[in-house]
Symmetry: D2
Subunit: 342 residues, 4 copies
């Protein structure tokens, strides 16, 4: 069976990770990656010896790649002529401009959370609404916080039913090394409800959600604290057991050294994963408590990598490669090495 | 009527503010302040020309004050011989060692939240349990987070009854200028429940509380997000109206520029308050929402100044100066200039 | 003798401080302050009870001030019709647009460092080149870093002659409470030479200067480390003595508790100065060393307040009020309370 | 030829990296690693499938490893009985206690910079004084800042001779994920000269050095700005050419995206190196300038990995494996993949 041909447009924080994830899928072929300039990630790609084909988005800027010693396989048109699906990882808002190009090349496309909802036929989450994405031309992924949030709420919802959630998002304000965004010694609040709650209700309309978002001056992942009202009572132990069964949720203990968002990052560094990435969201056993019938628990969201698996799920849905939700996410997980720990 | 004679032991972050607050009370006399060394706050006090009498805690270190040009009025024994109440603002754990000294001088004492509960006869909060402190020899104040938290919960509890709260504390990890504590690019979690919830239940045993605490690398005040379950339904407007009536709660709008914890600090700087301090906790109108019957709202806690009014309330209770709760807190408020805004 | 009439345009970080400084000058009258909207500083001004007259920059936005309860004395035109000098503290680049307005009202104007050099007749520093500003219509102040840097280099230059300086600017990247700028966990470098060196050479053309600037995620003041080559040898003790004689330089000791940039801020808080401001730059005695004939020492720059005295000097120069440099800066110092410490 | 047998004692930030580096050397065998507890790095090692033999430092704590599912190869005694050299990466000060143990097992040992100088026979730097370490029983490495600093100064010294340096160390105050150290919104100064200058003069006694150290709230590497006085004049181009020839120095351009300390970290993430590590120090071309005859340039120090190559050099020296400096460092470089870029 021939592999599905995938291209990645935009080789930045998300695009570079998407490229690696596609390359790991046994049933997909990474045709190449495109960007407007020889950015640091592309220079690192080249120096590392990984041989992805690189395409120039802007035909007039071909020379800048040559200047950086990065050989080009062609322009964006060349890439789009050779793929079935484009993974759009351009900066927020640019995807809308790219859509016509994708359409004219008759390639399907999956956009990230920075685009407006109406760019796509369906607002997609691999685990929560895979079926809605099947056969669609244009999918839009949930944002990083929403992707992780929906993973956790969907897991509990499928176990015991979920009525409502009230959440506090402690948001990292910039990615590591980002010099374009930042806060110093400030906790900045946004008015309620945050968009992540609104988005959760779009994906899971039967759950009521509200929440506060607070920007904090850190880079190594968001923390969301949920006060979740289940339809039937659930014990702390059952919450742990339910979340542990999810291949994209990692349940850890403060007692073992996981005492922060950054501890996950350090763990991944010592694991030797590329870019010290972790696709899973995290949950601390000691941070789960009950408030009456409500369950309170906190999740860790690795903002750079968390949407990667669900984007790969999107490739499976839109073509479609699989029509069964669990078969699809299971394949994504297998190729990404997201096996359950013993 | 002669004024109550008050001494402050420890002239650091809390003690320096207590001294100023006592000096503002029309019915109290600040006899003096004591410390172990000519710290920066004492040097600033001296340069500023404010003429508080300064006492040396350690008779053998009298010379270090002379070296800094700071005239001494005597030693700690001299101070304790001349006062009715000692406000202990020594570092956490030292108060326990000071207690015998206070007792031997037959002075009452009020300890801060860093001491263990059993140091005192009562765990005290001016608004929530004033009556319990009346006539007692030793009071212990709630910590900064708990003081602000109890203020808010008590206000709503007196209005509509409060059943339970699930809270997320986004804690500032160090005070401005602190070089002894800190975190860099880390959100550190603690196991649930945090001590502030446990302490709230000690002060308000009829309210169930749980919560998560996350340390964040900022200095300008904690933010606590509460999911509060009232006994009867309450609208957002009623929450606003209730909190606005409280002289120690300041309700503000993001739209007016209060978009962060630090905005309160900046506002106080422009107000010209000493040390840019604000005694009130803050609430953002736009951050109040409903989750079913539950009310979600966030409070800002100015950790350096928030316990000052309730400590002054403690002086009123322990002697006692007033036996009526509202009369007592009203006098504290009046002398501190905590009038309600129009 | 009638007082010089001064208006402040822009009531933000710099403008609010300029207004207070003008109000303190015995020979100046603060006619009023103008801004485009009822910002937090204006709201605080109003709540604090200080009665500066407030003018609306935009006649069409008069209503927003009424909405905030802030009474207006008129529009910017009204203010400009009543003053001799405008202190422009509008955001960088806006001053250029205001200049025509100032000219049409025949008022002199002093711009801050965010404007381009060609906006003014002279690039001005009160201590280093007061004479050049005498009688000029338009002055531009040096930026905060350059103002402090020139203060220190000028002091040593007048004492022993200065040949060259190589500096490292460790720059605070945002002001306290700023949510528009920031870095998280990043030290960002700029190419050499930084503009502060170039600017120093414009003010002091006989000194050669180069330097590196590194942005750091802090708010409480820049630190500049200088490697200065004097014309004749100078000892550490002579450096200390020279700098101590300067009314706008504060020499402190780490051993006394001044161990950071923020220690100055904390000291000012405990001093009770408005906004915890300090006009002086700081120097740590223990951070002065020799490298051969070169002197190495570090200065602390309180970015929010440091340019205020030199701006007031500018008012004295441009009208002129004084033609003697030392008489002029001496009066500014006297009214601002910048006396030498014993 | 049989391989040299090496053990690593302490599997934390440094020890884990030393283990990987030893495992990469074609002429060394990593016998195993020892630690007191199943820390996060050890748990990650185990989960990652890397099969280093793990030894328990404390025989009584063997059970904690079993509890974490980590199989033990034995105790520290077992490890020491099987190796030629111990790389001590225990916390600062512990090495002194371990030395007797190493001696009693007749194994040589290399200590890190956190120990006192007198722990070792020689204070060692692979490039600068390799010869002094030949055949010695106990070496102590320079600290991270000093190792990088000496690399750069030694490179220029061998090219044109170096007379003196005056440096400004902008120090990262904590490693990523560290919850034991930190500063928030503070630039903390230390008295001059910093120990790195003193240490440089111990390694290179013919160079005069002084400097200031400023702690900053970041984690991704120190920056040192040097004002270096060469014995004969050197141009910026010659500095670039000299540093580019050094296999452990990476010369980059801001224009290419390397605009900060964290940019190196991000680059390494995209390169896919383990833990996003880089052994090289960095130099920005645009940050090199002249101040008269002096050269000013800034270096980036990746504190977690920078001492690894020089420690491996130490293994080569102490046994000795090579007696020629360039042969030794060349082999280390080869096995670590530190080839010069084209």
């Amino acid at each position: 069976m021939s592999k599905v041909r995938v291209g990645v447009v935009g080789y930045g924080t998300i695009g570079s990770r998407l490229a690696d994830a596609v390359a790991l899928q046994g049933d997909m072929e990474l045709v190449g990656v495109a960007d407007v300039a020889p950015t640091l990630p592309l220079r690192a790609l080249y120096e590392s010896g990984v041989s992805y084909r690189v395409y120039s988005v802007d035909p007039e800027k071909v020379g800048t790649f040559a200047g950086a010693g990065i050989p080009l396989a062609g322009t964006l048109d060349d890439l789009l002529s050779n793929i079935d699906v484009a993974l759009d990882a351009t900066p927020g808002g640019i995807g809308a401009k790219m859509k016509d190009l994708y359409r004219s090349h008759r390639v399907k496309a999956i956009f990230q959370g920075g685009e407006k909802d109406d760019i796509a036929d369906v607002f997609f989450h691999g685990y929560a609404n895979y079926e809605k994405g099947i056969g669609k031309d244009f999918l839009k992924l949930t944002s990083c916080n929403t992707t992780g949030l929906v993973r956790a709420v969907d897991a509990l919802d499928r176990a015991v039913g979920m009525e409502k959630v009230a959440i506090t998002i402690i948001r990292r304000v910039a990615d590591p090394g980002d010099t374009h965004r930042g806060l110093v010694d400030v906790l900045q609040v946004e008015k309620v409800p945050n968009h992540q709650c609104v988005d959760l209700m779009k994906i899971m309309p039967h759950v009521q959600a509200t929440g506060l978002l607070v920007h904090t001056p850190v880079t190594h992942g968001h923390i969301i604290n949920l006060v979740a009202t289940p339809k039937k009572s659930i014990s702390v132990e059952e919450v742990i057991a339910t979340l542990k069964q999810h291949p994209r949720i990692r349940v850890v203990k403060i007692a073992d050294g996981f005492n922060s968002n950054a501890a996950f990052f350090q763990y991944a560094r010592h694991m030797g994963t590329k870019r010290a990435d972790m696709y899973e969201i995290g949950v601390w056993e000691e941070c789960i408590g009950l408030s009456g019938k409500d369950v309170m628990f906190a999740i860790y969201i690795p903002q750079e990598a968390v949407t990667i698996p669900e984007t790969i799920d999107g490739v499976r849905a839109c073509l479609p490669m699989q029509t069964d939700r669990l078969e699809a996410v299971g394949l994504t997980n297998k190729y990404l090495g997201m096996h359950l720990r013993p």
